[in-house]
Amino acid sequence: MAKTLFDKIWDAHVVKSMKDGPDVLYIDKHLIHEVTSPQAFAGLEKRGIGVARPENTVATADHNVPTENQHLPIQDQLSRFQVDKLTENCKKFGVTLYGLNHPYQGIVHVIGPQLGHTQPGMTIVCGDSHTSTHGAFGAIAFGIGTSEVEMVLATQCIMQPKPKKMRITVDGVLSAGVTAKDVVLYILAQVTASGGTGHFIEFAGSAIKSLSMEGRMTVCNMSIEMGARGGLIAPDETTFDYIKGKEFAPQGADFDTAVDEWKKLYSDDGAKFDTEFNFDAADIEPMITYGTNPGMGAKVKGKIPAYCEVPESDRKTLEKSLAYMGFNADEQIAGKAVDYVFVGSCTNGRIEDLREVANLVKGKKKADNITAWIVPGSKQVEQQANEEGITKILEEAGFKLRQPGCSACLAMNDDKIPAGKYAVSTSNRNFEGRQGPGARTLLASPLTAAAVAITGKIIDPREII
């Protein structure tokens, strides 16, 4: 029978099926970080058991770390305690840790792929919803809660009901200045922030295939913003080229053997999906959000919808969102003044994102009204940015590269946007208060964020490229 890519991977990992119950699913790679793991380790201690497969578990500190002066002890006591607790737990339970100042430290979803831990056909979990990022490699990757982190630490398995399957196909050629972030914000605006609930999404089509691995990660990263459990893309030569030579990937003849297996990972012709969407790449332009969920997006050159343009049942939500954002229905988005620009996060904190920003700002100057935080996704990205001269270009344009971490994406550390201020952010969530109490977030691509940082207002980046 014709099988989807998702079914092929899932079925190969089922240890036991329960009638009318969840499947017991074997996990190949478990990524952990400081915020959602301490209670799980405490649970193991209470039960008097260890980590079942420490060799398949990798830890880093990212959510809670400062992005300046990382060589100094963390100032915030609670943050420091949490990061120290991770170090202590990893030592006690024999888990590899890329802690602060380790050359491999970084946002968990940036370092996994970069180090070759993320590979096609794997099942990957982490106590973080953006684990969906790793699906870009043709893996089943999804976020889990702390009880499930404990489950995986204890047994290398998780109990999960099998989700439904959705395919989103984007065919055609993306025009210049339109990036992976615009593709996913466009899809979100069509499918809505809850349209993927109960599903795992396969992204397909020529426009998706044309994306780099970094771009594919951006798309899969935000599948959770549609409410989906995760997203994935069939691996191809782009995938194999990216993985080749990465430290923890198979090497030499083992790599060739692995590629032969990975080439079997695609949805068979005639495979059935529960839900399908098809989009045309030609319809996609630079996008930005105006509301308080990631589905509330529009073309940068477009307008915030008028109340009469949204279904009656959604008007109350639109009204509440616009009141929070200080916007009006039916008004132009471009031209609005902005206070902060944040480039970073597991959505857009990779080297390709910094390259795009550097290319745009090269030879230009940052607008005076903008405070810009540019945060690399990992130590490796930071080093690469230094080597490629990106850091220097940014400095000449009036920016400063900070140190790696999740930073203002969720504002757990000191990188908080002040109340009432507007931030154009390359991250993934524009929820109320996400970037700090009262902060107003507009999600966009790194290219759009760079154009905003230069002009000081919302602008379609194609106008200044």
Binding site: S147, T197, K316, G433
Partner: protein
């Protein structure tokens, strides 16, 4: 490790007719720095509940003395966003045992079920009726019967049946824990690992 068993109960309900109550509203990230599971209820809906001077906002339902009970009723897409289990811990710690909505985000639903918090999904029409009932009478009683999978509006005598995975229902009713179940599967898990090498 066994948990508290989920038993049937009758309670008043707290209405929060907001859609997309995401996990950053339920418990903002800056309160996730604890390393234990307790005490998150104090910061449940923190930024809707308190102003920037930490004073209770009188118009938020949790600050309204007219409403109380073990049941939280909210608009659609409850719990969207982050995988933080702290959201389920905060709601439970505050004293709720049931959240009613017309639909829930997947990860939140799983996290709730793993922590003795029952998500009850009802139709948009039934949700509207429940809100109306509470609006008319803030002392209106609702009965939650997990065994029979019904949520009863005592005012209208309407039984609303709800879905729950049979395995998860057994776990909640008996206070079972997934991890105990998985630990008992060790021979099967090891056989599975052997079969792949």
């Amino acid at each position: 490790m066994s948990r508290e068993k989920f038993t049937s109960f009758v309670s008043t309900a707290v209405p929060m007719p907001v859609e997309n109550a995401d996990t950053d509203q339920i418990i903002p990230a800056r309160f996730l720095k604890a390393t234990s599971r307790e005490g998150f209820g104090d910061n449940l809906f923190r930024d809707w509940r308190y102003d920037s001077n930490n004073q209770p906002k009188p118009d938020f339902v949790l600050n309204n003395p007219n409403y109380s009970g073990q049941i939280l009723v909210s608009g659609k897409n409850f719990g969207s966003g982050s995988s933080r289990e702290h959201a389920a811990w905060a709601i439970y710690d505050y004293g709720f045992r049931v959240v009613v909505s017309s639909f829930f985000a997947d990860i939140f639903k799983g996290n709730s079920l793993n922590n003795g918090l029952l998500p009850v999904q009802v139709s948009p029409e039934d949700l509207e009726d429940i809100f109306n009932t509470i609006n008319i009478n803030n002392q209106a009683q609702f009965k939650v019967d997990l065994e029979n999978q019904t949520f009863t509006n005592a005012t209208t005598s309407k039984d609303i049946s709800f879905e729950i995975n049979p395995y998860k229902k057994e776990c909640l009713l008996n206070g079972y824990d997934d991890i105990d179940y998985l630990l008992n599967l060790k021979p099967e898990i090891e056989a599975f690992e052997q079969s792949r090498t």
